[in-house]
Symmetry: D2
Subunit: 150 residues, 4 copies
């Protein structure tokens, strides 16, 4: 899939809407959109090796803040394409942009952002993003519409 709304997103994950994700208003509950975004973000972190890094050094991601704008109600059945890209890379944090395209709408259904901070889970304090990780993010984003380095 190469929906124009996801052009420039190096990571796009696909998922089906689960019937049980709908609430009493018969569309997907707003909370679930943050799970969809997380799924794409986690896949991004996996690809740049942050989970391996965490196993080796204890430096892991922690979510500082998140936001979403819900543009279209979603219903079962539908297939979703959820993008993640890094739009700002700072000394101790990255800002992700997320976009969610619905096959049923053939359009953007939601977008949002999440700020992820590098956290030293062993020392229990914030930490700088390791150089290697920054390099791999930079590499993954070297696509049109990519990254601002802060």
């Amino acid at each position: 899939m190469a929906h124009p709304q996801l052009a420039g997103f190096p990571v796009v994950v696909e998922t089906d809407v689960a019937w049980g994700e709908m609430d009493s208003f018969r569309h997907v509950n707003n909370v679930v959109f943050f799970r969809y975004f997380e799924n794409a973000r986690i896949e991004y972190l996996r690809r740049v090796g942050w989970f391996n890094l965490m196993d080796n050094t204890g430096l892991g991601p922690i979510v500082h803040s998140a936001q979403a704008r819900f543009r279209r109600p979603l219903k079962y059945p539908d297939r979703l394409f959820v993008g993640a890209r890094v739009i700002t890379l700072e000394a101790d944090r990255v800002t992700f942009e997320h976009r969610l395209v619905s096959a049923a709408w053939d359009d953007l259904a939601a977008d949002g952002q999440a700020v992820v901070v590098c956290f030293d889970y062993r020392g229990n304090k914030k930490a700088a993003l390791p150089f290697d990780l920054r390099e791999r993010i930079d590499q993954l984003e070297r696509t049109p519409g990519g990254l601002t380095t802060g």
Copy 2:
């Protein structure tokens, strides 16, 4: 409970952290905070009679956008106090502010906002907030630190 962080919040709901809400990083997953916020917001909507209104008229709430700032990691066991208040009341929408206080931290653990739009579920379009509903929101908020009417 009257934690100073929740002063001026007309609605505060209490909940225990569920062990199963923690993820592999052994703290409550960030997505769950939006559910906590929703719990307080829904209680607010119930108190001002929006669910009755929806049964009678088809005019219900729809979430336009949501955001959260995560300030403290949460763990099981803990008891949470989640506040909701309306900070802006416009012709067709309200903006909620949420604050979440953790008993374990004895402090603010997260805060955020959600914009809720009035939606005509029968006519499938946005609608103005009924006068009665605005009145009841206004009444509930007539507390120190309350409401800006837009």
Copy 3:
């Protein structure tokens, strides 16, 4: 995919394990398996037209009981294949068997059953399964290892 563990299952849905479905023990929380089963069961109900039937008549499914046997711990990343088939068809209920195969284990990771009763949501009482629905279930199951009619 035609894993031998899913032979004879007329409905198999595929899904990726979401990282956020893991709990503090770093494997998928047992509650989530029931959601995986539900996803396959709902797809089954959709294929035999039960959702259309419900819109037209108010006769919908209600879960009477459910059980699962967890055979293998699941972790992110993994791809799951979840089967649903009807093993007993009675006057007012069907019994589903579920099996969940993990790509990472290349083996059965869980199985279970769910009994679904036909419920008249308008009249608020149990009801007989409509003849047409029974026919479509029977047709879907006419595969090796299928259905006992009660």
Copy 4:
């Protein structure tokens, strides 16, 4: 609360139904009942010190199987009382019985069981239940209607 349906249950946890736990059929989704049961079971494990034990020895609980019988549909708002007790104690496992009482129904809304096996998370194999843990379970259950030791 001492509802007769929960007589003999040494652990009872209380929780409010969350609006977002309801699905499109406008009652609490069946999957969520297993989370309610888990909440009571985890509180039980906490009280007998299994989480401390796990931190010290790596011997933790793993869910082998679970089942539920749904007796009453649940809706928001409601307050739930969820009981856990051990009905069988074997060399390497315990069987929990769960009951869920709804304030709105003033009656049993669901019951079920879960078998929890002692697992050596460091050695990655099943293990015998430590003597101290068995003692504490035995002590907690020394109430009318309690425990069969296997």
